[in-house]
């Protein structure tokens, strides 16, 4: 938990330090660099994990509701 807070503060601080211009985002615009799901079929993996595990959320998938699952 403490590590998470430290990382949060570091990234929040970084927001004021780094500005990458649009023409410098060649690598960042690569489809595989996308934060989160890179393809729609990733939903199936996230869904079966939500069914078989107690944890949900913070991954763009089900957080609870919509199914008779945990």
């Amino acid at each position: 938990m403490k590590k998470f807070i430290v990382i949060t503060l570091l990234i929040a601080g970084a927001s004021s330090c780094t500005v990458v211009k649009e023409y410098e985002k060649v690598y960042l615009n690569d489809p595989q660099m996308m934060l989160g799901k890179t393809k729609k079929s990733d939903r199936f993996e996230t869904n079966f994990q939500a069914y078989r595990e107690a944890a949900a959320g913070a991954n763009g998938g089900k957080t609870g509701g919509g199914c008779g699952c945990n």
């Binding site: 927001s15 934060l35 609870g64």
Partner: protein, 438 residues
Amino acid sequence: MKQITFIIVSLFGFAGFAQQATDSVATYKKRVLETTEVDFLASYYTQDGNNAAVSGGIGTEKLTDVTPTIVVSIPLNDDDVLTIDGGVSAYTSASSSNINPFDGNQPADPFVESTGASSSDMWTNLTGTFTHNSDDRNKIWSAKLSVSSEYDYFSLGFGGSYTRLFNEKNTEISVNANVYLDTWNSIYPYELRPFSENGSGLNSNLFNAHTITGNTNYTPIFNEFSDESRNSYSLGLSFSQILSKRAQGSLLVDVVQQQGLLSTPFQRVYFADVEDSFIENFQLADANELLPDTRFKLALGGRLNYYLNETFVFRTYYRFYNDDWGITSHTAKIEIPTKISSKFTIIPSYRFYSQSAADYFAPYEQHLSTDQFYTSDYDLSKFTANQYGLGVTYTDIFTGFHLWKLALKSIDLNYHYYERNTGLNANIISGGFNFIVF
């Protein structure tokens, strides 16, 4: 003085006219979505294990599921997109067949699936999402409506999100909220049904047609739920930041409050302090699962992606989860997309998951009849899981292959193997075809 005043007023007038002239010049705005896109998706899932919740923590967990889905994204204008998402999930399950283990052609047994009607079901879903982007593409809001249904469960969901980009699109903050108003159509273990308020108990047809062995004075606790509603409310926040020309990361928080019928009505529980009763090889339930009617969940996640070179990208993910049922979990995942050509990318992945047990969980025959809440669902037990995956993606930016009015943009195929240290293992093959309409 009058001349100076006249000149100054004239200059403001010209300035105003110039500003108006600037506003009237049309500026180019790239469409959010150039043309309609259609995705055909499908998955095939199988699992097996020996801790079926429907038979109190023992018995086969064999299950097969096929899920075809179609997603259509339609640009309404330069700024707005409407997405329609529809799918079905058809499954056959040895464990759900044992909701009524006495309707098959062979002796009832938790390790053998019944061939009766309860062995299969179908879940259907339809979701519509409307997304609006501001002219500068720095503000995005969306609204969503979803409906899903299966034999024993109906869900109505709605939600929305707002995303703000700033710092020359280096920083992104997003908030989303969802509400699900769900309803069970409770199905109970077959041998418990005669013990409802107006039931005939041991004089029912089941007990007249079959002989009880072991404890013949069978008197279970039947938790019959009068309120079958189940509502979920979630709020999510995310913060994304470009860290360098090759790295970007994000932090995510989801909080969820659920209330209503959170037990699964057809899952059995056996008590250590109650003598066992059997019909054939199947142990009759001492009770059906009973869990609290509220649950609060908190999930904190983080992602970090790094572009190493033209061949390798590193994608990492971590999540911490905690809820008020006593469950704490950790998830860690790494993917390494590897470009092997301009069109093909292979994606090996590894995921580790661990969770503690819910306060109300106990294995087969370890609950007491005096417990306030009880479950033997191993999805709520303490376990660790490893998942190994391999995916391949084919992308053709020139969409050379055409099918009627559809041009193929990409194909992806994925395989994952999942195993828990409780003995459950699963395989999933999934994939999709992405077309653009021309």
